[in-house]
Structures are given as C-alpha cells and as structure tokens.
C-alpha cells in the first residue's frame, strides 16, 4: 500500500526543516549548533529544489541548483569551522554571546 506523496508534502517538509533551522539559529547560543542550524536550512532548500524540479521537470534546473548548493555549503562549513576554531583558541568558549569584546 503506497503512501500517496505529492510534491506539496515535500515542500511542506522542507519548509518545516527550514523553520527548525531558523529557530535553532536564533535561539541557540552554541556556535556549533548555530552552524548546524544553517546547514539544516541549506539542506531544506535542497529538498525544496529537488521537489520543485519533479513538479516542473524540463531542464533539471532544480537538481543542478541543489548540487551547487551542496558544494557551496561544504565550502562555507570549511571557512566557518576555521573561524570557530580561531575564536575557540582565543576565548576558550563556543558561546556566541561571549563574543562581546567589540561592544562599548
């Protein structure tokens, strides 16, 4: 008995994951968790792109877009982790609220 899944379900799921990521980014203060939240947001976009591609078909633009998003997300994490590591070395914390040395 196949579950009758349509494109809208995937898009709704993608929106939900995106919201979870966005709320996680805003509410959590651990930099690593915030990075993971951003990844969640990017991956929800991939899901939406692939689902929409199924709806529109044609030139496979959505699938191609998703590949580029994956590659860029990898590069972003590489830079992000380097920045987090540098911050951790200097401050011995991964709490983004403690990045307050620039406030006067």
């Amino acid at each position: 008995m196949a579950l009758d899944l349509v494109v809208e379900h995937y898009v709704l799921l993608s929106g939900l994951i995106f919201l979870i990521g966005a709320v996680g980014f805003v509410t959590r203060r651990n930099v690593l968790v915030q990075l993971m939240s951003i990844e969640l947001m990017l991956n929800s976009v991939n899901l939406a792109l692939v689902a929409f591609n199924r709806q529109h078909g044609g030139a496979m633009n959505g699938q191609m877009f998703a590949f580029f998003v994956i590659a860029v997300a990898a590069a972003e994490v590489a830079v992000g982790l380097a920045i987090v590591l540098q911050f951790y070395r200097l401050r011995a914390t991964v709490n983004s609220d403690e990045a307050d040395g620039l406030r006067h």
Partner: protein, 533 residues
C-alpha cells in the same frame, strides 16, 4: 581594424569576459606566487635583535608569503586595475556589440550595467589592495593570502553584479562573502578580529540561507531560474495560477530583500556591521564598505527591476517600494544618531556607511517611479566608493604601529603636527558629508533629484535632514584635528610612511575631485548603464 580577429567569436568572447577573466587568472597566479615565494622573516629577526618582545601578541606567525605584502599588494593592484581597464575598454567598444557573450547568458549578463559595476568594484578593490600593501607590514600582519583572497572577492562582486540567474547569483554571492569572512579574521591572534569574523560569518550565512530559500520558492512558483524568465512568468500569472502562488512569491520577495539588505548592511539588518567593520583590518573594512555593498545593491536593483518589475509587485500599495523606503529612513536616522555618539573614528565610519546605504536606498525606491533614478544610484555608488576608501585610507595613513588613530582624542592637534595627512583626511570626510566641489555632493544631489522627479518629497526632506546630522560627526573629526590639542600625556596618532597608501589616496583624491568638478562624463555613463534603458 583587423576585422578577421574582431569577428572571431572566440576572441570576442574572451574580450567580453576579460574583466572577469583578468581577476580569475590573476588571482590564481597571485596564489601561486604567494605559496611558492620565499617568506621574508627579516622582520621577526630584527624584532629579536633589538630585544623587542619575542612572542608578542601579533605577527609571530611566519609562513609562505610572510613579509612579501608589498610585492603581493603591487601584483594584486595591477590585476585589479587591469580588470578596471578591461571594463573601460569593453565599455568603449560597447558590450551590446560583443554578441559572443550571449553564450554565457543568463548565468553572466555582460551588459552596460554589469560592466559599470565591474569597473567600480575593480577600482575599489585596487585601491584597497594598495592600502593593504602599506597597512599589513606596518601593523605586523604578515599574511600574504590577503591579496589572492581580495582578488577573488572582487571577482565574486563582479560576477554578482553580472548574475542573471538565481544559480550564478547564489554562487557569486558566496564567492564574495566567503573570502570576506577570511579577510575579516585575518589577524589571527586578535580576539576582536576573531569575534568580528565570527559574527559576520554567522549572520552572513544565515542571510544567505534565507535568500536561498527565497530563490527556491521563486523556482517553485515559476519553474524558471533565470531572472528574466521568472519576471515574465510572474507577469503572466493571473486568475487561479496567481491565487495559488501569490503568497509564495511574496514570501520569496521578502526573503530576497532581507538577505540582500543584510549584505548591504541596512537597518534593521545591520547588527553585524559596526562590529565586523571595527574588528577587521582597516583595508578590509574599506573593501567591505565599498565593493561588497556596491555589488549587493547592484544585484538588488537587478532582482527588483527584472524579477519583481510586475506592476502589482512594484507598486506602492502592494509591492516592495514602501518596504525599501522604510529601510532607507531607518538606516539614515538610526545610523546617523548612533554615529554621532561614537568615540572610535573607525566605528563612526562604519555607522556612516550604514547611513550611506540609506541614501542609496532612496535612489532605489525612486526607481519604482522613473528609469532615470537608477542612474543616480549608480553614480552615487561610484562617488561613495572613492570617498569612503579615501576616508579609510586617510585613517590608515594617520596611524603607525602602536600609535594608531582610533578615537577622536588620538587625532587632537593632528592638523598642526601633520598638515598634509590631516588635509587628506578632511578632504574625504567633506566628500562623505556631501559638500561641493567634491564627488559626494553630486552623488547626493542626483539621488535627491531623482527622488524629487519621482515625487517622493518626504523622502528627500528626511534625506536632507540626515545630511545635516551626518555633517556633525564628520566635522567633529575636523574640529579635533584643527582646534584641539592632545591632553598632556595622552597618546596621539603619528602618521605612517608608505608609498602604497599615498598612491591609493592620490588615486581616490583624483576621482573625488574629478567627479566633483566634472561629473558629466561619469553621469552620462551611469545613464547609459541603466537596466532596461
């Protein structure tokens, strides 16, 4: 003219893409030169020889490219100015005559609009490279990777202004942003730099993710990823098709505006701006303030005027103009009030760049009423680029290692001690304040004129009020430099000596004065560069 050469599509293709290719190839070469060049450790040895602290907080990391900042800066400046010169050449031939570049459309659109922005960001990047050539060695930041990164960031900015597809838009945006995150955190041993980089990275990636979701929604609503195709598809929606997709398109519009306003650094998406600008090395700050902002405004214009040009979305009742007008007013008022209360000159300049984003947005709002308003935005961005880099350059010139110009107090009596450096600083601040005969005056004049033509009188009045508020904190620097003396025993700034910084300031000053006295040529170019003109 050799017609056989000019008619060859391959050659014309190379010519059409030459500004972008020059930066791409040049950046790769620079990276090789940096990686294989012999590091110069003379500075570290010298520090040990004179008994200076051997493991100080800064500049003790010796790696490839160390001590080579001057050579690499020259290389980067040559590459970036070459990009600017190629842009001018392409402009003179006319991008519309180089039809071979249609093969890279819609991913890269080589039109007058993108060539204009290519010139502006290459000019900004080139001046920033020269400033870094003086700043990095002086402040013991021996990191040669600054220059390849700077070139690649500028490449991203060029590509962003030329992007005609959501895919290339996203990739170009990230190319630009990822490099800038690294440039901000360049001073690896500084807590402030690492905090600045962390904040900018987190908020920047968050904004990019928001924008990307907006892009995915647009693709879902229309089935297209090229901006022109999406615009047509939205214009063609009606009846049931519109009912189902209106919410999706409006959410996409909101997400795209939020993401790009983050990159521009406009209120209320400016939280990262002062911290990132203050913690970054000053040449990076200058680059962020001009090239990143300029490219983000360019792509914002293209998105609004190509994708959301539909009369339902571009109207004052239901579309983006009131949103952008609100952002413009908030940016001007909030940034100007906070800027006036700053003690650090660099932080003041950071808030001033937010206020300038507000002035730019007045012009962007006016584009909903007339095509000519685009020209005022383009011209404003050119004048803003040279004035802002000049101001940051003068701030760099005003301080040497351990005698930097940070607060207003540091600059007390500066005009009497170092008249030439103080004069340069005053000149660029006057241009930022918008006093004739400088470039800044005409920049503001044309933006306000465009807003008047669009019958947005209230925006013009608010803009003028803010110009007056803004003049207060620019003139405060002048008051400190010329009318105050440092308190006894207080530290004061001593200017550095660097041919690079001096050259950069001369180039910026030529543009500021040239655009201030003869704005016609540049203005005609801006008018020719408008989208859909």
């Amino acid at each position: 003219m050799d017609t056989s050469l000019m008619s060859s599509p391959g050659v014309m293709m190379l010519f059409g893409l030459s500004p972008i290719l020059a930066l791409g190839l040049g950046g790769l070469l620079l990276m090789l030169a940096e990686a294989f060049g012999r590091p110069v450790v003379a500075h570290a040895l010298e520090a040990q020889a004179i008994g200076a602290q051997p493991a100080g907080p800064e500049g003790q990391i010796v790696d490839a490219g160390a001590g080579r900042a001057a050579e690499l800066a020259l290389g980067a400046a040559v590459i970036l100015f070459a990009g600017a010169i190629f842009s001018v050449a392409l402009w003179l031939v006319g991008p519309e005559n180089v039809t071979a570049t249609e093969r890279v459309a819609p991913y890269l659109l080589i039109d007058r609009f993108s060539v204009f922005f290519s010139f502006v960001v290459c000019l900004g990047g080139g001046i920033a490279a020269l400033l870094a050539g003086g700043y990095l060695p002086e402040h013991r930041i021996e990191r040669g990777e600054f220059f390849p990164l700077l070139v690649f960031c500028t490449l991203g900015a060029q590509a962003l202004a030329a992007a005609g597809d959501l895919l290339s838009l996203f990739v170009a945006l990230e190319t630009m942003s990822l490099g800038v995150y690294c440039l901000v955190g360049l001073r690896r041993t500084s807590v402030r730099a690492s905090e600045a980089a962390l904040k900018y990275f987190l908020l920047g990636s968050f904004a990019a993710a928001l924008m990307l979701f907006g892009a995915a929604l647009l693709y879902g609503a229309t089935g297209r990823t090229d901006l022109a195709g999406i615009g047509e598809a939205i214009a063609g929606l009606s009846g049931d098709g519109l009912e189902g997709r209106a919410a999706q398109i409006l959410i996409a519009l909101a997400l795209l505006i939020v993401g790009l306003a983050f990159k521009v650094g406009a209120v209320p998406f400016h939280m990262w701006t002062p911290d990132a600008y203050e913690g970054a090395p000053t040449p990076t700050t200058g680059f962020m303030a001009v090239a990143v902002k300029t490219a983000a405004v360019a792509v914002l214009l293209r998105v609004l005027l190509v994708v959301f040009a539909d009369e339902r979305l571009g109207s004052w009742g239901t579309g983006w103009p009131p949103v952008l007008a609100t952002i413009a007013v908030l940016s001007m008022f909030i940034a100007n009030f906070i800027a006036g209360r700053q003690e650090s000159v660099k932080r003041m300049l950071a808030y001033s760049s937010i206020a300038h984003a507000g002035y730019v947005f007045i012009g962007v709002v006016a584009t909903s009423r007339s095509v000519d308003a685009q020209a005022s935005v383009l011209f404003y961005l050119l004048t803003y680029t040279v004035s802002t880099l000049g101001a940051f350059g003068a701030l760099i010139l005003a301080g040497r290692y351990r005698a930097e110009a940070v607060s207003y107090e540091d600059l007390a009596g500066f005009g009497r001690r170092h008249p030439a450096a103080a004069l340069a600083f005053s000149f660029f601040l006057i241009s930022l304040a918008g006093v004739p005969p400088t470039a800044g005056f005409f920049g503001k004049l044309y933006v306000f004129k465009a807003a008047i033509q669009g019958e947005l009188y209230w925006l013009v009045v608010l803009g003028l009020i803010n110009s007056v508020i803004g003049a207060y904190y620019y003139l405060k620097v002048l008051v400190f430099m010329y009318m105050r003396e440092p308190k006894p025993g207080a530290p004061f700034a001593t200017p550095m000596r660097s041919g690079y910084v001096a050259t950069a300031l001369v180039i910026a000053a030529c543009f500021v004065l040239g655009l201030g006295i003869l704005p016609d040529t540049a203005l005609e170019a801006a008018v020719a560069a408008v989208l859909g003109g």
